[in-house]
């Protein structure tokens, strides 16, 4: 039975090492774990060693060598989930399921696990159950869901409503997820007939002309890093390689970000058209959409959209009637790793490996996927490209500010009246945004997710633009009822501890030390030199290889900079030195083992 799954997964992906991720995910999804036998069979068929297979399995959050339950529940433990009532939901799950988080109930039916942000920050608390999303969880719903599980109900049939619909209602999707599009701009608007650019414009343009138009628009990567898109395409176009690839990064793992989920739901055709345009420009024949595992529920729907595009000659051979322009797109699922949003880690992952970032140079545009020149673009970037081609680079660059052109799709969550998706022009201030979403009594706002910065009211006049506040779009709002250090900063720091790939020494070993120091301060044992330590350790993080490593201490460093008083009011006054050692605590374990009572 199980071996059949393994063999058929291996066959389905042609015994190809590069497709190891797909094989593993297929087995995981069917068997709820990957057994020793499965590892052995894969290693034999793919000519890998056992540890080669296991190094990939053990890297990804959603792959497991232990059974995870017939129903595997991943409850989000992000800050927004906590703020929206995760605790009571988690407790109800534990009571009803009869096991703790991190465990599978004895009967093997239900497994309870934590997971990082699943891209539902505007509808928390939310959970993934066998790949399906359940939003707005309450104790009532949890009891209902667990009851359904006990009767063996199909997960898809456990939904009780289809909320605001949009494409979520489509027959290929049938999800109970909300879109919450609160503000549409020129990218998200639905007044475009997909395929128009490919059919009407592309045949008249040379790849160089397309790149020129993109350069004119001055659009920069919307994932957060902000590299000029036109330049990236040009580098890739002129790079030498037998094959070229366009990869779309839909691994939006930055907590508080969910815009790509909505775009993928509502505008998949726009995205795929953007990938075709990019493919045409750089001379690629293959595009890959790297879809985070949390959005697996979209896969079938997206594949259907691809099939439709093939039927309309928007993908395939001689696309749009352009002789020799052959290009197709496949979807690659991730398996749970924030770091795979980093472009070179994403490439490693698509190649079936652990998502460890590569050393640069060489950059992906010279040597990326399959060692060939590769462009990695964000979902939003590729959608914007279509509109740029439609209305012109000049038009696009007239939006926003002179340096930061165009629009940005924001994801707003936390303490505000109207969480959701907002497409705005660059140049808004934080005050504008708070006013827009109905947020009052704001203590702080996390701009750009945990890797960004925590800023306070005195900086709310700062602007969204590449020369001031750069963001991939995540905004989490905290009112004055929130304990920033204990609940927010600690949660973010735990996130980075969990998500560090472990390759660079300062990243894997420094973040836990940052956390210990923060806990020391929170427990009232901090002294002034502890704050100096935190600050000086920050520099070490800049020696890490990738963006995660560079920014993993940002929750602590930016809160220390902008909310120093929160730290200072917790320090022990008048003390110069304090190790935080507590004798009573230190002997409690041995006292318990010997039934003694501390006598000092």
């Amino acid at each position: 039975m199980e071996n059949n799954t393994v063999h058929s997964a291996i066959r389905k992906y042609n015994q190809d090492k590069m497709r190891l991720m797909d094989i593993l995910i297929e087995i995981q999804d069917n068997e709820n774990y990957i057994s020793d036998d499965a590892v052995r069979i894969i290693s034999e068929k793919l000519e890998l060693s056992l540890v080669d297979v296991e190094q990939t399995i053990s890297f990804y959050h959603f792959l497991s060598k232990e059974p995870q339950g017939k129903y595997t529940i991943y409850l989000n433990n992000s800050i927004v989930s906590n703020m929206m009532g995760r605790q009571i939901v988690a407790e109800t799950f534990e009571n009803e399921a009869g096991c703790k988080f991190g465990e599978v109930a004895e009967d093997g039916i239900i497994g309870l696990f934590d997971t990082a942000c699943i891209g539902m920050s505007d509808q928390e608390p939310a959970a993934l159950i066998n790949g399906n999303v359940f939003i707005h969880l309450t104790p009532f719903r949890v009891k209902e869901i667990v009851r359904d599980m006990r009767t063996g109900k199909d997960v898809k049939k456990m939904h009780t409503s289809y909320l605001d619909g949009g494409q979520n209602k489509s027959e290929y999707l049938n999800s109970a997820v909300r879109n919450n599009i609160m503000r549409m701009g020129p990218v998200l608007t639905d007044d475009y007939n997909p395929g128009t650019i490919i059919m009407n414009n592309l045949p008249q343009l040379t790849p160089e002309q397309v790149i020129e138009e993109i350069k004119t628009s001055n659009i920069r990567g919307r994932g957060g890093a902000g590299f000029p898109t036109g330049l990236k395409w040009e580098f890739c176009r002129i790079a030498k390689g037998d094959k070229k690839y366009i990869l779309c990064n839909a691994d939006e793992g930055e907590p508080g970000t969910y815009k790509d989920r909505v775009i993928l739901t509502e505008r998949p055709k726009l995205l795929f058209e953007g990938m075709v345009i990019a493919g045409y420009s750089i001379g690629a024949t293959e595009g890959i959409l790297y879809l985070r595992y949390e959005y697996k529920y979209l896969k079938h729907y997206l594949e259907n959209a691809l099939e439709e595009a093939r039927g309309k000659n928007l993908l395939g051979n001689d696309i749009g009637g352009i002789k020799g322009f052959n290009f197709d797109i496949r979807i690659q699922l991730g398996a749970g790793a924030y770091i795979c949003g980093e472009e070179s880690a994403l490439i490693e992952s698509i190649e079936g490996k652990r998502g460890e970032p590569r050393d640069r140079p060489p950059y992906p545009v010279e040597k990326g996927y399959n060692d060939c020149p590769t462009v990695v673009n964000n979902v939003e970037t590729l959608c914007s490209v279509v509109k740029i081609m439609l209305k012109g680079g000049e038009w696009y660059s007239s939006l926003g500010t002179p340096v930061s052109t165009g629009t940005k799709v924001l994801n707003i969550s936390g303490d505000c009246k109207y969480p959701g998706i907002y497409e705005v022009e660059w140049g808004l201030t934080i005050i504008d945004i708070l006013d827009m979403v109905g947020a009052t009594d704001v203590q702080a706002i996390q701009v750009g997710g945990p890797s960004g910065s925590l800023i306070g009211p005195e900086e709310f006049d700062r602007k969204l633009c590449y020369s001031d506040l750069v963001t991939g779009g995540s905004f989490i709002i905290f009112n004055f009822n929130r304990d920033l250090l204990k609940n927010v900063v600690l949660n973010f720091t735990d996130f980075f501890i969990e998500e560090s790939c472990g390759s660079c020494v300062p990243c894997r070993s420094m973040i836990p030390l940052f956390k210990q120091k923060l806990e020391k301060i929170l427990s009232g044992n901090g002294v002034a030199s502890d704050l100096e330590d935190l600050q000086s350790w920050g520099k070490l993080m800049k020696t890490n290889r990738c963006g995660l490593g560079h920014t993993a201490a940002n929750p602590i460093l930016t809160s220390l900079k902008n909310f120093r008083y929160l730290y200072e009011e917790k320090l022990e006054r008048g003390k110069e030195y304090e190790t935080g050692f507590n004798l009573e605590q230190a002997v409690s374990e041995s006292c318990e083992a010997t039934t003694r009572v501390p006598n000092f």
Partner: protein
């Protein structure tokens, strides 16, 4: 000027660092000329009789008694020095640190090859006189402030001599490459 006063202690160590301190050959006579010893296993003075200038600590802290002694030294010594691997890093006693204490005690008193079948009462010693074990062996500076560190297992006699004379005379310490080793 009165002679500088030195105190020493062995906590969770093997006394090897103290042996190294005594291993300075005839220079020990110079040292006696230079300094006065107070609380120390060398002269068997059990309690501090005055404030000391320098305290030398060998070994880390594995139990409540070690912690009391260390804190007593911090209170009574102007300068406190961790000398040797165990005081600085926990050393050999810290091999137990990753293991839960209950397991350690059961191995030592109930299940280990030298006790298995011989501890009929099955009791893990728990007399009130016995110091309480800490959850792990702590390097000294994770309990109190330590001013200087002299690594080695043991620190070489030369290193200890150099450090002490440098502190006492106020001269710069000479550190040749070969003098600082962790083994």
């Amino acid at each position: 000027m009165s002679k500088p006063v030195i105190a020493t202690a062995t906590l969770a160590g093997c006394f090897g660092c103290h042996m190294s301190l005594l291993d300075i050959d005839e220079k020990i006579l110079d040292l006696i000329e230079l300094v006065e010893f107070n609380k120390s296993p060398i002269d068997d003075i059990k309690n501090f009789t005055k404030k000391c200038d320098i305290g030398l600590i060998e070994g880390g802290c594995c139990n409540s008694e070690n912690v009391h002694v260390l804190k007593d030294f911090r209170k009574n010594c102007n300068i406190l020095i961790s000398f040797g691997e165990c005081a600085i890093m926990g050393g050999l006693p810290a091999y137990r640190n990753p293991i839960p204490i209950k397991e350690c005690l059961e191995e030592a008193y109930l299940n280990g090859p030298s006790v298995k079948g011989h501890n009929e009462s099955g009791i893990i010693p728990n007399d009130e006189e016995i110091p309480m074990m800490l959850d792990k062996v702590y390097p000294c500076h994770e309990i109190v402030k330590i001013d200087y560190f002299l690594p080695g297992c043991p620190p070489s006699a030369e290193l200890i001599w150099n450090a002490l004379t440098a502190l006492i005379t106020g001269n710069e310490m000479e550190l040749s490459y070969e003098i600082i080793k962790f083994d």
